[in-house]
Point group: C2
């Protein structure tokens, strides 16, 4: 039962003792880190008594069950896993509320506004940036949208679907499948995150180029704010004033509770092709830049540096690897241009060909990665990721500087470890480097260790002109760097907007500019 | 001299008597409208005396010359042309200010905020929605950015360029050409509009699909607000909170004065192909939907209904015409899929082949169209356009309803006339229908006539679920319908943002939600 507080999946998916025994030598071999004896999740320590209680009209929607409260007080960052594992979850919502109708959300926000109780909208709880944690807040409630889920409407002609915010990735895909449609949107949290969470945090899917951000798929959004319902009109394109949807996208619960959205959908691709190319990092960077700047939009254009290639089990030769994939809804794909540009950049193409299920196989590995992370954590390995984006002109020095700043911090703080880098997304004007960190953890000090490493990495990102987040969102963890990054006057405008729709300041205070 | 108040181009480009004599029978033949004797532009009527004057520190930047003030008090809609032609421009700024530095903009906004003088940022003055007109305002100034122009910086590696807001289209292209780059952005106002105006109004270029909105090209924006400078970081992609740029995009001068922007640029396409296909309207709609929903992104995918085909001189056979174009930076274009889908939809392909300059030829005609409009106006023809966007599920009935509502209004108000429709832009989930109206004008009553026709068309658009503007912006003319369209709570948020950055409410009051 306590397991549900810390793990990625259900208790049934927890690594067993024999799994850990089997994986330990592999981890040691791949990471070079001496693993520790497997840790057993601790029971949840007693929580602070609730500081508020729902009015009787809403009481049926609330839960004060300790594990429920604890689970809603943390996300799924490394620091969350450690706290869950130890049962030490201190900043938890005073009550978890599960509305079954939009009117109940209106009622909850009315009550919260009148009593000053903070409201934290909760989708799948997969935040890795402290987005759902009532850190340092007074009385608070977690508004869990799980019971407001499902496919409401399909417009087969325009290929758009209306989904309730609490719909998880697999449920959304399952509901679309009979209609021959897919969102083609697979963030790594796919299994554990919701449609509303994607919109609120500007999530990105695993495709490297093209419409891979949820921003690109949103046709309209409906949200309940403390002063009323905000719903945009379904439009394929509109230049009427600043986009209402683009203000809700990334609002992280500060402007209201997203309850529904119309998303663009499409059929499954009819044609697929994939290839693997190898070379050195600079050649890989040159290839990705050439491909994106040629206007090509490969579904996969994932460049892995040698460390990332080793850590991910992709390749152990010390080479950088470029994983390429093309997809097409209609015409057969023609890989000639992508291959030509890769080879011109100096890469060697190892294998290539039409792929049926290879994309799905990679995606499956991708979405399973967080489960593997559980095993590493249990074996005393510090494992975390962080990500950014930067323009091509800055990129080479930027990746080198961020990598070396992080490696320095690991040596200083953990006595060693590795930093791998891959591109999750690529654009004509830059790329999104994603860093994986593994290091020996000092049990009991993991969070302090990681916070210090993360701060060093974040400083290097800020100094190099990158964004503190490309798709993980701001939450509470990124605030110090986000505060330096966003235009100060924009923050003032955003605060003005928040004050207008949330006059009592109860919506997820502490994230963004709150 | 007075000519500059009303015409699209310079006085040297004004239609001469012999031009009008030559064009008159063609106009009559094409539109079926009996043209009237050519009108001679009237001298500008005396203007109201300026109600404010710049402080001495800024006085050198100001102009109170009547033609200058009048030119800055109107845009380039039909109602503007008529008023300019008659010399009857009543709502004009009290002074035209031309800053030569950003600091001067800061100083102007300080002065305006302290004295309550309204500030209307002015780029090329090509607004067709009353965006630059101080309609009903108290003391106001027009802040003309023309002297803050030019290319500031080129990042050839990331293919992005930093342009000052006052740079006109041809100047921007001229400055990029030596770098082997183009913005590939051609709104119909290309010659007469500026980079800053494009961003402020969410302009769209003439390409039908793909990154054709200025929104897609913007990498970062710098703006002077009454409370300070708002500048975003150059990033290829960032999920850190709501996008600051997306709040400035479409802000129409209400949040501040855009002074610079980094835009994504690219080389000229190496490969081009074009085709023309004909059939009936429904077949054309089916073809465009099939092409966009197949994930294809043709540079041109312009569907013209039979009236539009006739009015534009494209085809007189009573058929709908689909103009297709493909472009590619790198690989040769393959038209097979576009052709196949067009023919499957029932269209007949008339001609097709690689095109070198055909795209430029069309673009040239496109950007020259406003000059032709001058001749029509002088010959007593009411000529105007309006545009929208709607999802595919609503589209067939929508276009029919808007067309017939507009035709009904023309019969009632003008005694006849024609309404043509074309798609300017197409998306997987819908299209942007653009309507052209020609009718016999009743001299002296043109504005009242058009306002009534426009209201009827706008009501039909609103009733059918379209947007009141896809790329012409809101301005003052679209307010009644925009006010019904945008989410009321979003308007509250936007007012909150405006109040934060423009506490004295001097920035372009009257547009959007002001």
């Amino acid at each position: 039962m306590t397991y549900a507080v810390w793990g990625w999946g259900d208790a049934s998916e927890a690594p067993r003792a024999e799994d850990l025994a089997a994986v330990a030598p592999l981890v040691a071999g791949t990471t070079g880190i001496e693993v520790q004896s497997p840790e057993t999740p601790a029971p949840l320590a007693p929580l602070r008594a609730p500081r508020c209680s729902l009015p009787s009209s809403l009481a049926d929607l609330g839960s004060v069950e300790p594990v429920d409260r604890a689970r809603h007080g943390i996300g799924r960052a490394y620091r969350d896993l450690i706290r869950g594992l130890r049962g030490e979850v201190t900043d938890v919502p005073d009550v978890v509320v599960r509305p079954t109708s939009e009117q109940q959300i209106v009622d909850v926000l009315d009550w919260a506004s009148s009593t000053g109780v903070a409201v934290i909208p909760f989708g799948g709880g997969s935040s890795v940036v402290g987005g759902v944690e009532p850190r340092g807040l007074g009385p608070s409630l977690s508004l869990d949208l799980a019971l407001l889920s499902g496919l409401v409407e399909v417009d087969a002609v325009s290929r758009a679907v209306r989904l309730r915010a609490g719909t998880f990735g697999p449920a959304a895909e399952g509901a679309l499948k009979p209609h021959g449609l897919t969102l083609r949107f697979y963030p790594q949290s796919f299994e554990r995150s919701t449609v509303g969470g994607w919109v609120a945090t500007r999530a990105a899917g695993h495709f490297s180029t093209g419409p891979t951000h949820i921003d690109d798929l949103v046709e309209s959004v409906r949200a309940v704010t403390p002063v009323g319902v905000w719903e945009s009109r379904r439009l394929p394109g509109s230049g009427a004033g600043p986009s209402p949807d683009r203000l809700l996208l990334g609002s992280e619960g500060t402007l209201g509770v997203i309850t529904e959205t119309w998303l663009r959908a499409q059929p499954r691709p009819a044609h697929r092709w994939a290839a693997t190319a190898v070379g050195n990092w600079d050649q890989g960077v040159a290839a990705v830049r050439a491909i994106t700047q040629a206007g090509l939009q490969p579904a996969a254009c994932r460049l892995l540096d040698p460390v990332e290639a080793r850590l991910s089990g992709t390749r152990q030769t010390g080479e950088a690897v470029l994983v390429l994939g093309l997809e097409s809804l209609h015409a057969p794909v023609d890989p000639a241009a992508v291959l030509e540009l890769s080879e011109q950049a100096g890469l060697t193409v190892l294998e290539q060909g039409a792929r049926g299920e290879a994309g799905e196989a990679w995606r499956s590995t991708f979405v399973r990665a967080p489960y593997l992370r559980e095993s590493l954590v249990l074996l005393g390995v510090l494992v975390e990721t962080f990500e950014t984006a930067v323009t091509w002109d800055r990129l080479p020095g930027f990746v080198a500087d961020v990598t070396s700043a992080t490696e320095d911090a690991l040596r200083r703080i953990c006595g060693g470890g590795s930093v791998g880098c891959r591109f999750t997304h690529a654009y004509a004007d830059g790329a999104a480097p994603y860093f994986t960190v593994v290091a020996p953890a000092r049990r009991g000090s993991e969070i302090a260790q990681w916070d210090e490493v993360k701060a060093a990495a974040s400083e290097a990102i800020a100094a190099g002109g990158g964004t503190i987040t490309h798709h993980h969102a701001v939450g509470r963890d990124h605030r110090p760097w986000y505060d330096r990054q966003r235009p100060e006057i924009f923050a003032a405008a955003l605060r003005g907007a928040m004050a207008a729709v949330d006059p009592h300041g109860v919506m997820n205070p502490g994230v963004l500019v709150g």
